[in-house]
Symmetry: C2
């Protein structure tokens, strides 16, 4: 029997070499599926579908957090490597080198057990692959997708097709504006729904995130991190806390979605306080709950009538 909280993530597991004004790392654990798994694993059981090369040294880190790696294929060759740097306010990654290596030939083929996972996160891989995964799934409870400018520029129709087929699409502000062809964010969100998205979560980095569907509009600020170290993985960590919370309680109603946005925000704030998913690996329920409470305290008030 599949666990009713089980979350499947399909994405990348990589080795990242990153420089920021606060330090640098070489061939540290990275990749969307990694950040996502460590984040979500604090809420619910996670299975990873990804590929690494035979040089990949970090399996233990996942296993120690209870992450199911039976879907992590090891292919002959080298693991996906990314080298990048951030300057100034760390708003944008500047890619210095991408070596796809074994990831270039990645075609997710899901085992029977993984096809029955109730929660699914499609990290920012080729939208064709995201659609392949969706067509293999057996009635998932909730599907969440991510994407990136690269695919929006090259395969906008496929990206839209993914948006129509998942329950919630995660995009950052720039991606949402580019995909919608709008310079104003509220209009971009409306346009994505008009074009068939069921719900969107738009991440605005240090400005928080918004959830927008036909029924619900919800906004959460970012957690005011002062120990910002490396923004890599913030979006995937957000996704992990977001879907993790929903999976943990088996709820997708408005109240749960709102708290899930806060959980995503809290996990993203932890992720960016260290290089690699170190902080995500080392955190604990108490710290996560404290951060979510603190976020709630920053937005909560009881409205009283004014006129």
């Amino acid at each position: 029997m599949i666990d009713p909280q089980r979350i499947l993530v399909v994405g990348s597991v990589a080795l990242d070499s990153i420089r920021t004004p606060y330090g640098e790392v070489t061939e540290a654990l990275g990749g969307s599926a990694s950040y996502f798994s460590f984040s979500a694993s604090h809420f619910a059981p996670v299975s990873v579908v990804a590929v690494v090369g035979d040089d990949f040294p970090h399996r233990e880190l996942f296993l120690d957090r209870g992450v199911d790696l039976t879907g992590l294929e090891t292919a002959a060759g080298r693991t996906f490597r990314w080298r990048g740097e951030y300057a100034g306010d760390l708003g944008h990654a500047h890619t210095l080198e991408t070596q796809l290596n074994v990831f270039a030939e990645f075609h997710p083929k899901l085992e029977a057990e993984h096809r029955r996972a109730p929660y699914v996160f499609l990290a920012n891989i080729d939208p064709e692959l995201q659609l392949e995964v969706l067509s293999q799934m057996r009635k998932p409870t909730l599907t969440l997708s991510d994407t990136m400018n690269y695919w929006i520029a090259r395969k906008p129709d496929r990206v839209f097709e993914v948006l129509r087929r998942v329950d919630i699409a995660l995009l950052n502000e720039e991606e949402a504006k580019a995909l919608a062809g709008e310079t104003h964010l509220a209009r971009a969100a409306d346009k994505l729904l008009e074009r068939g998205a069921n719900a969107v979560v738009i991440k605005k980095g240090e400005h928080g995130a918004l959830y927008h569907s036909r029924e619900e509009r919800f906004i959460t600020p970012a957690y005011p991190v002062t120990a910002l170290t490396d923004p890599t993985g913030a979006g995937d960590s957000f996704a992990g806390g977001f879907i993790g919370m929903l999976a943990r309680f088996g709820r997708t109603d408005g109240a749960a979605l709102r708290q899930a946005m806060a959980c995503g925000t809290a996990m993203a704030s932890l992720a960016i306080e260290s290089f690699s998913p170190q902080r995500l690996i080392g955190t604990n329920p108490g710290e996560i709950e404290t951060r979510v409470r603190s976020l709630h305290g920053m937005v909560h008030y009881d409205l009283f009538p004014m006129f």
Copy 2:
């Protein structure tokens, strides 16, 4: 007897010629004190201290809203004129022409009644003038200041002196970062408090605003305006709703401050839906309350324990 809700604003009353992608106006009513007055006048009585030239045609608009103009000096000469335009996402005004005219010689001299106003807004005039006004006030309940990059670049010490002397300083994100010498907003806010500010409200435009003091941290998103027309006056309109709400209820506690942030946000959202303060003049308590409720609904949730 001075009204216990009376708000005094010292700032500019101007004639603005503005072009945005959504239209243009020529010599329309503008100026920080104008936007502020129309905004605050929906909450509490307002007195304006400012100067206009003998060509100023808009006194009636203020009087119709019940704004006290006994402190609006009419000097021989022309009214302050500003000409600017906005492009793209309307993020920044591009100034085409500034004619200070009678405003060049403005030195606010307060009547006895105005000195006793319990609430004071110092709009973005020269910090030396702001300090002159403060030294004339008789035990105000709450003082709020605004500033601009022009003064931060030229008189940072005087700007800091204003920050130390007012209860709450209003700045936009760029101004806060420039004044603090920090590129990261949460750090900038901390630094301003370290340097002596009692509390700051940092406006982030379409990303909302944050309130930060030693006791309270509060964040409010922007109201998602889709009918954006002209962002001129958004900050002053925010200030009007913010202090207006506090003056109306005679409260400066955390709960009131939070709702005041929502009121400021609602008034700013109305201001930018038209050129000039047209929408602020034409709005009503029902519309304001609806917008504040809607904002509250976008952030509100009841937290439940997770672990």
